[in-house]
């Protein structure tokens, strides 16, 4: 892989080439939260942030997307062309890049590739940045604290410079267009990278073991832990909305007033919502809240391992942050492992 370095003072200059590759989105501060948004000026962009409220999936799998239009005369037409707007997503952490790589398995590399997702994904350039974990990140436990693919460029802080990994030909085009802003790194730069990389790894405060989790989940299928969580869960679906790898969607047709013309819209859904497993005729296969909480964790930690060889959690810590009932990846794993009693606080064990 091509490795370069960029002086921090030249970052502003470098990012000025990005609009040539698409509309730029970057982490900016909104209230107390961070969000991926279009910065009105570059000084708003946060190079050091904990996590954004929503993961980058909002740009490749929009919360609400019109997929088709229909007309009784002409039938159905697709709106794929609208998905091909080029974007540059700047400042993505490794776990979120990993999250997109996991979505690729379902939407791009599966038997039926999803053309809307693929079109957006291919037209979205990703520029990663490194981060120092806080007390909610568990990306190292999920093997998502470093990524070797899924980005065009990846910037790592090494003091006065960023070490820049060039991941794709498009990333290299950005480097070329920036007209010799980048330099060759030295041995000392690599040493600095290694030192900081070790520090980042050591900074994780939360650790969960995954190796035997699929079997333990099989054993704990009827555990009272799920009933207790079902009692607490509010079925709000927040955990799914903020999850980088939750991708369930609902589909509905919207009809224009006074005609049969309209559009088919897909929108984010959550298996925590009561209607998720409802079928025509009124039967609901997951009417109980506990069954829905359980389903979510079995799908992520058990089903994904069976299907793709790894769990779908990337350790971003967003569910730790948003769940009002303190049901999250850390508390759930600790509970089924019997490492905490079911009514424990739910905050990360280390905090």
């Amino acid at each position: 892989m091509k490795i370069l370095k960029l002086a921090k003072e030249n970052l502003d200059l470098f990012v000025s080439v990005l609009p040539a590759f698409g509309e730029v989105y970057a982490p900016i501060k909104r209230g107390k939260e961070f969000v991926f948004e279009r910065p009105s000026r570059w000084s708003d962009v946060q190079m050091k942030y904990t996590r954004t409220m929503l993961p980058p999936k909002k740009l490749v799998l929009p919360p609400c997307e019109t997929t088709l239009t229909f007309d009784p005369e002409k039938g159905y037409r697709d709106l794929l062309a609208e998905a091909s707007k080029p974007l540059v997503l700047f400042g993505v952490h490794s776990y979120d890049i990993y999250g997109l790589n996991i979505l690729d398995r379902v939407f791009a590399q599966a038997k039926y590739p999803d053309p809307y997702y693929i079109t957006r994904r291919k037209n979205t350039a990703i520029i990663g940045v490194d981060f120092v974990p806080d007390d909610k990140h568990l990306a190292s436990s999920m093997n998502a604290d470093f990524v070797d693919s899924g980005f065009d460029l990846f910037l790592s802080d090494i003091g006065n410079d960023y070490l820049v990994l060039v991941g794709t030909s498009r990333g290299d085009d950005m480097v070329v267009m920036s007209n010799c802003l980048m330099q060759m790194p030295t041995e000392a730069d690599f040493d600095e990278y290694k030192k900081r990389s070790q520090l980042r790894r050591d900074a994780y405060k939360v650790h969960v073991a995954l190796e035997d989790l699929p079997e333990i989940l099989e054993m704990e299928y009827h555990s009272a832990v799920w009933d207790e969580m079902g009692e607490r869960c509010l079925s709000c679906g927040s955990c799914s909305m903020v999850c980088p790898t939750c991708y369930c969607f609902d589909v509905g047709d919207e009809v224009d007033f006074g005609s049969r013309k309209g559009r088919r819209i897909r929108s984010w859904d959550s298996c925590l919502l009561r209607t998720h497993a409802l079928v025509a005729g009124g039967e609901n296969f997951r009417a109980e809240r506990s069954s829905r909480v359980k389903f979510r964790y079995y799908h992520k930690q058990r089903g994904f391992v069976a299907e793709y060889g790894r769990p779908s959690c990337v350790g971003c810590g967003r569910c730790v942050e948003v769940c009002p009932a303190e049901i999250n990846i850390i508390s759930v794993i600790q509970s089924i492992r019997g490492e905490r009693d079911g009514t424990a606080s739910g905050a990360p064990a280390s905090s």
Binding site: F70, L80, P86, A110, K122, F249, D253, L278, V279, Y298
Partner: protein, 289 residues
């Protein structure tokens, strides 16, 4: 001034699995109240030519201006040209479909799901067990087996409905039984009219009429939960292999292609891992029946 970026990856040449093909309703056969057989033909001849499905697969049916619903295919892939869907008036989409006259257009995409493993079943005896509406997907398998009769050993159909009036494909099955080489065992729970000449009694009672060699038989069972409960018990009593008992599940397959998540059972998707599961799969999956 902002530069205008050009898409590097225009989508023109990508196939869109969400886009329905238009089909015309050529005939509506009012078999049973609230359970009609719709015969469809794709407008585009290329789609008609290309169309191929397996018994046990399903399609996504769109009614323009209402929405989309998963429907199992009742016709056999051996009979080309017309797609037959046996549809119960159930929810929003199917109710809208029932309001459409003959010659109306609907959208169809698919076929989806794994279907029955017909290659693996070839060379074996075939026991098809349908309860109630379960006959809709199994009719495809029955016709397939009859059209490729030489590929199978003994073929047996056991079908139970509540009454003769509620039996799907009743006349068709009775006349098929006269000309085709298969054991056709039909039963009804009760016969209010007193004119039914076949069996009366619950579906599992038909097991007394036949003997099976569990080492050379595949059983395909589709019906409501009560049917699975009693029929599976019978099959296990007869020592049928757990991985040769096939069942088809119904969930709300909204996308049909393993994305939207609505048809998940345990951690499998009914739309791509199913809808046909072996009994062995079933007992190894949480929340399946």
């Amino acid at each position: 001034m902002e530069l205008q970026a050009v898409p590097r990856h225009p989508p023109e040449h990508m196939e869109n699995p969400y886009l329905p093909h238009m089909a015309r309703i050529v005939r509506i056969h009012r078999m049973v109240p609230d359970n009609y057989l719709f015969q469809l033909r794709f407008l585009d001849d290329a789609v008609v030519q290309k169309w191929d499905h397996r018994p046990g697969q399903f399609v996504e049916l769109s009614v323009i201006g209402t929405g989309e619903a998963p429907i199992s295919i009742s016709s056999s892939p051996t009979r080309k040209g017309i797609l037959e869907l046996c549809i119960r008036r159930m929810g929003r989409v199917t109710s809208a479909l029932y309001r459409l006259p003959t010659n109306s257009m609907v959208g169809i995409r698919g076929p989806y799901g794994n279907g029955f493993p017909v290659e693996e079943m070839a060379g074996h005896d075939l026991l098809i067990i349908a309860g109630g509406l379960g006959m809709a997907p199994l009719r495809s398998l029955l016709w397939y087996a009859l059209d490729y009769r030489e590929r199978f050993g003994t073929v047996t159909l056991m079908y139970g409905a509540r009454s003769p009036a509620e039996m799907l494909f009743r006349e068709e099955l009775l006349s098929l039984a006269e000309v085709e080489d298969f054991n056709c065992l039909l039963t009804v729970d009760r016969d209010p009219t007193g004119t039914w000449k076949q069996n009366i009694g619950l579906l599992p009672s038909l097991f007394q009429k036949m003997t099976f060699d569990p080492n050379r038989t595949y059983a395909a069972v589709v019906g409501p939960p009560i049917v699975y409960k009693f029929v599976l018990a019978e099959l296990l009593k007869l020592n049928f292999h757990k991985d040769r008992i096939l069942m088809s599940l119904e969930r709300r397959m909204k996308c049909g292609i393993g994305k939207c998540g609505h048809c998940s059972v345990g951690y499998k998707y009914t739309c791509i891992h199913g809808p046909v599961f072996t009994y062995w799969d079933a007992i190894n999956l949480p929340e399946i029946v």
